[in-house]
Symmetry: C2
Subunit: 448 residues, 2 copies
Amino acid sequence: MVPGKALERIDLPVERIPDRWYNVIPDLPRMPEKYLDNRTGQPVTQRYMERLFTPAMVAQESSMERWIAIPEPVRAAYAMWRPTPLIRAIGLERQLGTPAEIYFKYEATSPTGSHKLNSAFAQAYFAKRGGHRRLVTDTGAGQWGSALALACRLMGLDLTVHMVRASYHQKPYRRHLMETYGATVRPSPGVHTAFGRALLAEYPDHPGSEATAVSESIECVHGDDGARLAVGAFSNHCLLHQTVMGLELREQLAIIDRAPDYLVSSVGCGSNMGGMVLPFVEDKLDGADITFLAVEPEACPTLTKGEYRLDFADASGEGPSVHTYTLGHEFVPPPIHAGGLRYHGCAPLIGLLRHEGLLDAVAYPQTQVFDAGSTFARIQGYLPAPETCHPIRAVIDLAAQCRASGRKATIVFCYSGHGLLDLEAYARHNAGELRDVEPETFTAEVAA
Amino acid sequence: MVPGKALERIDLPVERIPDRWYNVIPDLPRMPEKYLDNRTGQPVTQRYMERLFTPAMVAQESSMERWIAIPEPVRAAYAMWRPTPLIRAIGLERQLGTPAEIYFKYEATSPTGSHKLNSAFAQAYFAKRGGHRRLVTDTGAGQWGSALALACRLMGLDLTVHMVRASYHQKPYRRHLMETYGATVRPSPGVHTAFGRALLAEYPDHPGSEATAVSESIECVHGDDGARLAVGAFSNHCLLHQTVMGLELREQLAIIDRAPDYLVSSVGCGSNMGGMVLPFVEDKLDGADITFLAVEPEACPTLTKGEYRLDFADASGEGPSVHTYTLGHEFVPPPIHAGGLRYHGCAPLIGLLRHEGLLDAVAYPQTQVFDAGSTFARIQGYLPAPETCHPIRAVIDLAAQCRASGRKATIVFCYSGHGLLDLEAYARHNAGELRDVEPETFTAEVAA
């Protein structure tokens, strides 16, 4: 009558926090695409990059070292919550009647509730060590912004965050969190940059996107010599820092003697996907039968409907261009609640994996995604962020396929963050008020 | 230039989740006071208690067994997040320049973010096993309500929560969380009970209190034969379940070879205080020099300004009376943001410890408490719940005393929960809008 055991947890001791990040670039079938300077059409120079990023990040961006040591202060900061548990979702397996085993890498125990701190501490540390005074960044749902706000506070840096306007209003709690840590938060598009002012003049109801927020951040960095840009996804160095997840996962799967058949993750830009799958790329290239499955919103279907081509990384072309999957830098996704997935492009490394046939992708509408997240919360107890609801939606479908075929697959997904600061969206879902919005464009009505 | 190591974490493996709760009653200098039936003035009967609570809870309430086995399904549920880490706040020590060592038992990693799940899973399990269909409860800030909502969902029970009206409006996210887990949430005082209707008729702006919510819950249970009451604090059995914290803490302190000089905790009713200190009562009675320090809001100063006397446990006398510290059951605390601490009385076991001279107590105004919480978040990175800000405030003062005296004390406080769902209060604090309110009474203006 009382339900059976709902989960199994595979922990690592604190000593097993990885001491190095894995850089996939030397192991790829070909080099990732070069960033181009939009003013010249030529590959960006060292000088261009170092005006934008801290020198350490520029070096990591194109490093050919397979392993990069994690500085001790960053590892010490990771000890706030790492290693994160790998959890088997026995309750969900039972509910779905599947022979598959479903595991998730649970990143929600971090102080700000998501995997974003893995890179935030690294970028803040190197900025401080490099003598910079301030970081500037963009944030979608606010997961990255709040992580960087904490990291900057602990490392002793100022921070300005350009928060996508739709999320700024949908998710006031994340803004309060950033401000409590001492960051300055501005809605994007906003009045503090020429780009933002121009956009608002033309579209007063513009909901913003990660691309507009990046453009404003770059403009802001160019106006302050002591400032550098920090990015929560996209860049090779950010995905590099996130590999602590995949590295721990490898150890945890070894403990229970499992090899993954599916590694599933949401993709906005690709930071949690990259962090989980990059340490498994070599296995896949060596012939292991692992499916890397990216899950994205139908409202922003970069990998399923985008093109692999050269495009701006931001909305204005103030930053570099790069060859990757894109919906076009002028694409403004409708203001769905998975704010972290509202980006027109994706990380070049993720684009490359997709282009090389190493990465599968699927898209779901928002209502199905919240259904899956609610189901998961009611069975497993953990309330997932809207971004995290995406892989859960896909995993439920994979598990059903395994039920049909009888396959005892090992499915692992990245539980990138909790949804406690997204409860307004759950409340709307509970009330049946969420709608699926078409990706064509946005209107003031949809934004409301 | 980069700040030094900010923390040290002492973990226990998942196998070390306690397999029994510690019942302090056989070890106390005298028995806790008996509950009295207000209709007869006599000690409550078994029949009275079993109409209110599940039989297992009634048995635990007055058990003389020192150790009570934790049922395997409850232990399996604890594995969602237990054992919780013990963390040394090195950053705070450094900032305060204190020779004291400051540790905290970090309960915020639970899926609902606080220690309340420790008892929620136990009460839901025994209710389900006892054949009951539904639990009814009260909640202050919503920490207990959301914990019980999750536990009831996983154990397969219906749940009705009476949420203190002030928190119902201040903390909509916690209400959304309970509703996402499937609970029915009503503001208290509310229109679903005769008591609530009568109160609203007289005081339409009544902000409610834990006492009004308990009265409504009891009325609700009396109207439904399949329902029983669950309580997030107060009762002996609830404090019993919380001893998993203190039991783990003992092990963790043994690992680092420390004995506690101070155990510090917030007290609303006493569940986190009890859970942490009860397993150390015998040491104290045996002569160990440990100070148990309860920290409460000046706006609801039960232990510092209340009397030890017989009083109603709820607002209406629908439930039992008991001898403990109280401000009087008609006392309505002003709507401060630490909603979990707005109770006129305290758990009989906590009252007894205080009365026997085993428990010290101190009270702080809300603004000082939020200052301490913000300071802690900015130094240690973890954002504490308003309730948890209370012991932090006291620990900062203790550490300063140690700096003055040169004492290398070992101070441990209970980090009962995170403040991610209390960010509206932090936002008001950041904006300088929080006020310290006198405990005399409430007005519509203060409630606004």
